[in-house]
Structure formats: C-alpha cells, structure tokens
Subunit: 263 residues, 2 copies
DNA sequence: AAGTGGTCTAGACCACAAC
DNA sequence: TTGTGGTCTAGACCACTTG
C-alpha cells in the first residue's frame, strides 16, 4: 500500500506508518483501495465499457493481496460502478448496455413487458441555454444565474405520449449540447452523456408526487386538463456525489406504472 | 457439509458426492449454507431480534470454514434478513427496531425529517373477515373465495390525515386479527405481525400510480373530491417468496413525497 | 480475559472465455 | 493453454462488547 491512516500489519510493509492522530478515522485497507480505484474511474483512466486491470494486477500495483482488491471491487460492483464478468474481466459500468436499457426509468407498462412496446419515441420541444433559477441552482450546487442547459421533451411509448420532462444540466459541463444531438442519439440519453461529454451518472434520488395536469401539460400528453399525473423529480449524481442533472418529469399512469422493489 | 449438487474438494470431505446429473445446477458451497440458514430462519429456529449462532459455531455445524459461513451471512445481511453487530453477534432482522421505524414506507415529509412530526396517528375504520375476490386471491396466491382479513385504516401525520389504506391478509395465517389489535399496538404493524402471528415480511413490490380522489376517499383524507393522490399497491412477501399481504394505499402528497433512491 | 464480527494474507483449485 | 473472476480453506491479527 501507500498512504492513509490505518494500522494493518500481517504484511510487515505498512507497519511503520505514521499513525498520527488520536482517532485517525480508521478505515480498512480495502476501503482505501476502493477509494483509489474510484479516483482512477473518476479521472477517466478507464472509460465506460472498458476493462479495468485484473485483480492480480491491481493487487501488485497497490501492494496488497488479491483478496483485498477483491473486496474493494465487490463493493464497487454492488454500487453498479463496475461489472464483473467471469473469465473476461471487470468492466466500467455504462448506460450504453443493451440489457437493462433504461436503468433509472422505473415506469413500466402494466403488462410488465417493456420490450413489447418497442423503442421509445422522442420529441425534443426545446433545448436552450439560460441562467439558473434559484431552485435549479440549489439542486445542482451552482449559483443563481450560472449557465445551465434546459431541455424539454416528450417520450412516447407504443404511440402514446407518456412522459413530459424537463432536464437541467450544468452549462459548463455540457457545452454545445443541441436539440439535434438530444433527438438523434439512439439509446439512453445517459449513454450519450457518457460518450459526448464524459459525464457518467452513477446514482440518483427521486421525489414523487401526484399532481393534476394544467392546460399546457394536458395538451402535450394528450390527456384532459386536470388529469392526475405522476410528478417525478430526479437528481442525478456523478462520482463523488456531484449533482449533474435535475430532471422534472410528468408521467401518465393510465397504462403504465412506477415499479419499485423494497427490501 | 452434507447434501446437494456441488463438487468442491480442498476439504477431502465432500469429494465423494454423487454428481449425478449432466448439468447438476452447480451452486457454490456458501450458497448451500445460505439456503440452510434460510431454512432455520423460516422454521423459526431463531426468532426476530434474537442472535443466531456465531460464525465459528455455524462453521462447525456445517463442516465448512468460517470464511464460507461468512460469505453466506454476508448475502443474508445484504438482503436485510439478518443484521451483524461487531462484538455482539448476528441477529435476525425485525421490523421492531427503533432506528428505521417504517422500513417499507417511503413517504416522507417535504422537510425530510420524519422525526419532527412525531408518531403516526392510526384510526382503524374496518377489520373484517371475508372471501377473497379474484384479484386479491391472485395476488396472494390463494383461490377465489378463500378466507382473507381486510383492514381499512387512516394514518395521520402531524395531525393531518395522510394515508388511507386497505390491507388484505390470508385468513389462515392471521386468525383472530382484530381491529383492537391493529389499533392498540405501538410501532410498525409489521412488527405486530412478527410478534402475534409469527409472520415476517422480508421484501415487497410496489406499483405506483397517480389517481383522482373519489368522494369517499376525499372525505376520509380531508381533501377536495378529484384531488390528485398517489396510489401505492404493495405486495409483501415472507421467506421463500410467499406473498402474505396486499396493501392498497392512497397517499396525500401535498406536504409529503415518495422518496426513492436509484443506483 | 474471552468471545464476536471484521480484516488481511497466502495458496489451492474451479468455472468460464478466448486464443 | 492461458488468463480472468469465483470459491474455499487456514491461520493471524484487529476492533468492539461484555463480564
């Protein structure tokens, strides 16, 4: 190993560490290794979809046993930052995988079969650069007035307009994002963010409410004014808990529902 | 170890196993151990809140190394079936813990602080035994007409009626459940189910929709008829994926929201 | 001091994939 | 055949809790 507070011996190598503070915030070796791997992921040393070095290589690099690297990677895999494939290696997770096509979208057709309705239709209504309002700035950890990109679009499933949503993105990280780009890219928007802007969304939080559609919303979703809609506010984070996208969606739930698993 | 398909050696004990089928559905030793522990949990050998034997004891009992038992327990802990406490032991998880008071309830006040509003008020409107309708029977894996218990109640937070919900429970497992019992018990209803009926809910699935309040619902929740409400249908399972409760809730989301974390 | 879970190591072997 | 992740073991030591 190298730095950080710790105390492990058994190896005879890190035994001479400083051990400065009284409560040096003990963190196990594998957590420190996890942190180092995380740094490399964040720095883009390995890009989404690529393999990372084998456990043996990483063990040699960090001067720890394979088991310790293994435990670090186990946690990264549990957080969906990395995907293990036996016999092949460990890969940086990406939103561009064919399997779970929309990892953050919990709206599913009542039939339960998301494949049956074919690919989602996308219509971008708006894509413009503007200055962050107070609430958008707070959510994205910016200052009021900082540049942001706002996108408004409608998603259509099986021919039915089902989702109306607004996205707000930090202007600096998403320079040059255009309506064409939003509309053209096949596959998840988050996959495009990875490819075009090097921004990978790692986790998100959602606040869900029931609301009544106003006239404009009703028109865009082809429902009656006052119809109940699901309001889903999503804040997505990159590495290190940096918020990178605020999304406010209105979901029709007459033929779809929001599915959640508790444990 | 004892039975099951596998092939592990390194121990010299299980080497003489049958190895009957062509593809004997290989499952690693720790998975088999996990299954055995699961059986003991299900059989009630250790009750919610109690300690289970130490890793060393279990290792001796199953004739495997501590590390193998450890990995089995790791998975059980990840599934919230069991809770580890360093220096004390491993405990059977329970809904009666003071910490996370309502493990399955994702509705939180907009302030974010669930403690600030004090304990939930409960009013049981109905508690009766009846015969399962077709849809209730299907959800609970019963036959139409089988006995079920239905409970209707209103939950109040900070003086405001916020949740109106119906519960359906298999009549056989919940013989003798009364309105008094539902109303009297302090703490989570699921904790009462553990204590009084030996039924422990392990996981659940929810389907969420936005709906408009009808006249009766509006009156009970003190909102205007037609107000948007969150419809939350929850199916809860005990061990071995046996469904044991269907719950249909209507949530007011004017001062609360449904909070979800994605990863 | 004794017991429990938590960490770390080292080495062996298995299952899977690719060359 | 080689290299990857996956499993299993055995033993040492650390951190936390309790008597």
């Amino acid at each position: 190993m190298a730095t950080s507070p710790s105390s492990h011996s058994a190896d005879g190598a890190g035994t001479a560490d400083a051990q400065a503070q009284a409560t040096p915030a003990f963190s196990p070796l594998y957590q420190q290794i996890k942190g180092l791997i995380l740094q490399s992921l964040q720095a883009g040393e390995w890009k989404p979809g690529e393999v990372i070095p084998s456990e043996m290589d990483l063990a040699a690099r960090f001067r720890v046993s394979q088991g310790t690297v293994r435990k670090a990677i186990d946690e990264l895999a549990a957080e969906n930052l990395v995907v293990r494939r036996q016999g092949k290696g460990t890969f940086v997770a990406t939103h561009a995988e064919q399997h779970v096509r929309y990892r953050f979208l919990k709206l599913v057709p009542d039939s339960g079969d998301r494949d049956s309705e074919g690919p989602a239709g996308r219509e971008v209504l708006e894509c413009r650069r503007l200055r962050a309002s107070a609430d958008v700035a707070r959510a994205l950890a910016l200052r009021t007035g900082d540049p942001v990109v706002q996108v408004r679009r409608v998603l259509t499933f099986g021919g039915v307009p089902t989702i109306l949503e607004d996205l707000w993105l930090p202007g600096n990280a998403f320079k040059g994002l255009s309506a064409d780009q939003m509309a053209a890219y096949q596959g998840p928007t988050y996959a495009m963010f990875e490819l075009e802007f090097g921004v990978r969304m790692v986790r998100a939080e959602e606040k869900i409410r029931s609301v009544a559609a106003d006239a404009a919303q009703a028109a865009l979703l082809a429902v009656a004014e006052g119809s109940p809609l699901l309001s889903v506010e999503r804040l997505s984070y990159t590495y290190s808990d940096v918020p990178m996208e605020l999304r406010r969606g209105l979901y029709r739930t007459d033929t779809h529902h929001y599915r959640n698993e508790l444990s």
